[in-house]
Amino acid sequence: MSEVKKKNTTKINYLSKITLKLLGNEKWQHLRIPAFLILLSFIAASIIIIILGKNPLGAFYNLLQGAGILPKPSYAGYKSMLTDFLTLLNFMTPMIFASLAVAIALKGGLFNIGVSGQMLLAGYFATIIVGYSGLSSIMAKPLVLIIGIMAGAGLGGIIGLLKFKFNINEVVSSIMFNYIIQYVLSFFIHSYYIDPVSRQSKYINEAARLTLVNVELSGLKMDFSIGFIIAIILAIILKIFIDKSRIGFEIKAVGSNPKGAKYAGINVGKTMILTMVLSGAFAGLAGVTYYLGYYASIQPKVLPSMGFDAIAVALLGNANPYGIIASSFIVSIIDKGSTYMSSIAGVRQEIASVITGLILLFSACGAYIQFKIRSSKDKLEYKAGKELEE
């Protein structure tokens, strides 16, 4: 009997006790586990950087400098830490939208991997309809948003319909759409809208752009993203919508248990399509803030990698809109700061996507970590109870 007990005590070793202490508190778990995951991925990235013979801490410091969080030693004319930070926000805007698109689909039990394609489609239509027209700024900007929403929502709706009507896995169909859109739009851009010098589509008119570029203020040239404010407001609205509204509840019910939802009298097919429409709408907003905000043209034959990074962001933010604002801030820093990092520290820029990939990898285990913590906590409590009895 005593031998068995001995085994049990050694089983829960000190390491797990420390992690329990750090992560066990359920009240803060939703913050601490993502922080733990990010830490893990940075440790893994550090190992890679050390193997390459570079200093990881210096590299990460440069990462923050490049993103406008920490000051650089010197700046070019009209630039400062503030302009770098505003560029970061400008870049972060489509990231928030794209991640919200992934998140709402996840809530509804669907996996929208077609965000990239939906972004490209929305950006393309907004560009050719409004971007090249001579509309005034007040007309053009709202119109861009509306077209973006409609294009994205339309494509999302088709994917939802295919899933519901024909039982086609949404992952496969949206990937097929990704490729079709990528090539077909490349054909049209190459045929009609190409700029022969930059090998991209022609620049759109300033009036249609969702970012106010080179605004001169106190001797600095800044980029103000209009979309950023919209993104924050929509994130808050989405959070309230999912938590409080009836449709939000139905989406969550279908997502967690479609059969149960059906017995409760929810129209599963309609809800599924609605989820994809909503998700597509957000992806469309991401597309217009990306192609008509951060950039002003479209690179043909390239899907925005942001649509895939958004999956990492949404998972890291636990599919919670507030969490997503925080996690897209972090992932944007990794993306934006990488250029500066590679030029100063000599670490290749591609390491940024490796770090994002690692975050993604560890986020996929997030639920497991939570489960492990709970079970080892139970074990501890059980043991404490046993000792009390004796």
Binding site: F111, M176, F177, E350, C365, Y368
Partner: protein
């Protein structure tokens, strides 16, 4: 006409071997969207070893062909362990895990390719040049009109793939291991009750799928692109998944689906050449396999029956 068959086959067979890998994994109950990433990583591993071998031991690249095929399988298998661990031991969502593997594989291989190129070869490039493989023609039979084209200008890997495919089909359908594997996908508890370990079988199935995906990847690198570069991530892994869904998770119908994709692609280029279309139209032709996939799925998905326990996390305690 001959070109149509030759090109169609050389595209269809690598796709087919990847799809068989997918069948193994999915019949054992593990959804495998990671094929895309696995084929890329396998191709990377194979190409890397060829390039390094050529650099350090002065062996001409062409001689290392079979070694590359083998090491690509090893590489794919190694990377698939990650997917297996995530799905089976860490109980992650299998769809998400698959996509994660794809993104990570792409990021990692692109990073490592540029890094190794600059460190070892001192070149700024994101490619490993491995050259095309040689081709051979079977004398005699290849003279038969039309059908003879099947035996004309064959890549050696096509033969390798066919042999492995037949063997894999035999194992899946005729052996005890195959029976248990299929049972894992339909009713894992019965396998457990029969005294076999479900997680072990699933682990093996995912590793097989990784190896076969790696083989498919290196074949694409040898035939279509003649190098390893980020362009290997063209979505062929997803095409393989579509093929196996279309083939109802069975080996022979899946072969038919792959042939269809191969001929659709070759046919598109063929038509483009005949009509002398400008090169921008090649973008439109590139969409053919994808459009075809969608259309086929619309018609066939409904009658398909996926393995019953596909995508479910196996829980021993659940009855």
């Amino acid at each position: 006409m001959d070109m149509l068959i030759i090109d169609g086959l050389s595209f269809a067979l690598p796709l087919f071997i990847m799809a068989i890998g997918g069948i193994y994994s999915e019949r054992s109950g593990i959804t495998n969207l990671a094929i895309e990433g696995l084929q890329g990583f396998g191709a990377f591993f194979g190409a890397l070893s060829v390039v390094l071998g050529a650099h350090f031991f002065n062996i001409p690249v062409q001689k290392l062909f079979y070694l590359a095929l083998f090491l690509a399988m090893v590489g794919g298998m190694l990377f698939s362990i990650l997917h297996a661990l995530l799905c089976i031991h860490f109980k992650a969502n299998q769809v998400i895990s698959g996509v994660v593997i794809n993104i990570l594989a792409m990021a990692l291989t692109v990073f490592l390719t540029t890094q190794i190129n600059s460190i070892v070869f001192g070149a700024m490039s994101d490619k490993f040049q491995i050259g095309t493989s040689s081709r051979f023609t079977v004398p005699g039979i290849s003279e038969i009109p039309i059908l003879g084209a099947v035996f004309k200008n064959i890549y050696p890997f096509e033969v390798v793939i066919l042999i492995i495919a037949i063997f894999a089909g035999y194992v899946l359908n005729k052996t005890r291991f195959g029976l248990r594997l299929r049972a894992c996908g339909d009713n894992p508890h019965s396998v457990d009750a029969a005294g076999a370990e479900v997680s072990k079988i699933q682990f093996k199935a995912v590793m097989v799928s990784g190896a076969l995906s790696g083989l498919g990847g290196i074949c694409f690198a040898y035939s279509i692109s003649t190098n390893f570069s980020p362009a290997i991530y063209m979505g062929y892994g997803y095409l393989a998944i579509a093929a196996l869904i279309f083939g109802n998770w069975k080996v022979l119908p899946t072969f038919g689906a792959c042939l269809l994709f191969g001929f659709a692609r070759a046919g598109g280029y063929f038509i483009g050449q005949i009509l002398k279309m400008p090169s921008t139209f090649s973008d439109l032709i590139m969409t053919l396999p994808y459009v075809l996939t969608l259309l086929l799925l619309i018609f066939f998905s409904k009658s398909n029956r996926a393995p019953r326990a596909l995508g479910e996390i196996y829980d021993k305690g659940k009855r």
